[in-house]
Symmetry: C2
Subunit: 325 residues, 2 copies
């Protein structure tokens, strides 16, 4: 069973680069590693200059490293058409048409993307975990997705109540029919109850895996907005009893040379001073440590540059992510 | 009737600063101006170093300029409790309790914030527009909100069908009762139909105002993600027949002095070169012009600095935003 490492953070902070660097470092340390990217811009393909898709495949030129890219848009499409198919089996065509418009509207909501992505990630956890020592994912569950983790408890109670009601109505039916042709039905065979049970088990599995076999890092940039958002994200993750190990400060402005002077050097020094203040604030007030400060690079991060970035991550890759508790 | 100017863009690009600068410029040009901020960080209060709240009040030290800050979180709270109140009048307590949990879940979805904010903005359009020449808002309707603009047409048809059905059932009732005690009911008095009519009119008013009396600008930063997101936002806004006038490129990296050399100067020159490429791409491929390139400032933007920023906006404040067409 693989350990899962999630790197979360808002779009643009550099999650995908940091994840790829960390995955490479795990692979270099001898762990069979799978890098899972959910970035719609296919930036993992850019980083390694080779195309990846929805199935894990080896990263050429690197040992122990496989990669895959999940396309959230394609997942939403697939997710919605599976909902349509299921619905078509259970309700009339007129109702299907009415609800189709609603589904089309739901398509573009952020929630639809998250739900579809989370479904796909759970499948990765189930199907790929055995083949690897480490699975590195460039996204962390958000507030909406985390709420799904408390769903099994909620669903469990609901399903129990449903079964109770269903059995009562089946009993009444039997009494009314007085031993007619209809075979004895039981709530356990009910297709809707079955489907609910499956969903309950799926989220139960996901919750267990995320709580016991996963570690989380948040990537942020040294600006006020990113610091504030990361603070809120840490609270949410911590509130769900997840193992958040630290934050990665990415895109730190480089200092000019000591002797440098002029408009540019003054700008950079002022900027660096403000960023140092913010990093001190993070270190003083966040519940987890800063595990890396990665300098902003102007050129594209590829190949050896990725190893340079990896070297800046003060994350222990030797230890398994599994919590002994 | 005021002209409305909206500055849209993702969090962190600097919409609030650009809006305040533009509002100040309109005020300096003699227009009675209201600055409406929807930024949860109360940055308009920071910019002018004085507190604003949900009601318009004069900005001290500046002529012709009022400001107000809308708190999206407070609006969501208010919005949801008003839904609860309405519901309580129409359904039983048991149903209210069941639905309450759903509402609590809906609270944290991005859609709830947008809907509440849009409701509040429509109220500003209705109540404050007469008192000002110009209203500057630091947010633009997003995809989800824009969809509400096509709701009146949809709602109109629906309400018509509802009234038809309601009248049929009222007729049947009359026929069955054969002139009983019940007074003659009409669908026009139905509280639910009345409420739907009100919503329809509200969104009709908002659509008309946004299409005829408003101009839109999008603020972005010269990085790939921001460019890609702005391209999509422009398509959405244009698709709803809104008057999008241009984009503001904010946080452009300053060039070092010509003679400057060293690590810092090299970093800045490479960065500036990449940003120039992106701006050229914007100019070559966006359907609207770049109306400003505003340099990144390290210090806080306040008072006179705000006027410097305002001077960099190539937006004509003399012309009214109303479209002659």
């Amino acid at each position: 069973m693989a350990s899962f490492t999630f790197f979360g953070g808002k779009g643009g902070v550099g999650k995908t680069t940091v994840s790829a660097a960390f995955g490479l470092r795990c692979a270099d340390a001898g762990q069979e590693t799978l890098l899972v990217s959910t970035d719609p811009a296919h930036s993992t393909s850019d980083l390694f200059e080779q195309a990846f898709d929805d199935e894990p495949r080896p990263v050429e030129g690197y040992e122990n490293l496989d990669a895959m890219e999940i396309d959230p848009e394609a997942e939403v499409e697939e997710h919605l058409s599976s909902i349509r198919r299921e619905m078509a089996e259970q309700v009339s065509q007129v109702v299907v048409n009415e609800i189709d418009a609603q589904i089309e509207m739901a398509h573009n909501t952020p929630g639809a993307h998250e739900a579809a992505l989370f479904d796909r990630l759970i499948r990765v956890m189930r199907e790929e975990a055995e083949a690897y020592d480490r699975v590195v994912v460039d996204t962390a569950p958000t507030g909406n997705t985390l709420r799904l983790l408390s769903l099994p408890t909620f669903l469990g109670d609901w399903i129990d109540r449903l079964i109770e009601k269903r059995e009562k109505s089946l009993d009444l039916y039997e009494m009314a029919a007085l031993g007619g042709e209809e075979p004895h039905k039981s709530a356990a065979d009910d297709p809707i109850v079955k489907r609910l049970r499956e969903r309950k088990e799926k989220f139960e599995f996901a919750g267990k895996t995320l709580r016991e076999d996963a570690e989380f890092y948040l990537v942020l940039n040294p600006d006020d907005l990113s610091v504030a958002e990361t603070r809120r994200a840490l609270e949410r993750l911590g509130g769900h009893d997840l193992d958040v190990r630290g934050v990665v400060v990415n895109k730190v402005t480089p200092e000019p040379d000591p002797g440098e002077d002029g408009r540019g050097a003054r700008y950079l020094r002022e900027r660096c001073a403000r960023e140092r203040e913010r990093i001190a604030e993070i270190e003083g007030s966040f519940p987890v440590p800063v595990v890396a400060r990665i300098e902003s690079r102007t050129g594209e991060v590829k190949g050896d540059v990725l190893r340079d970035v990896a070297a800046e991550l003060a994350i222990d890759v030797g230890a398994s992510a599994s919590r002994a508790r």
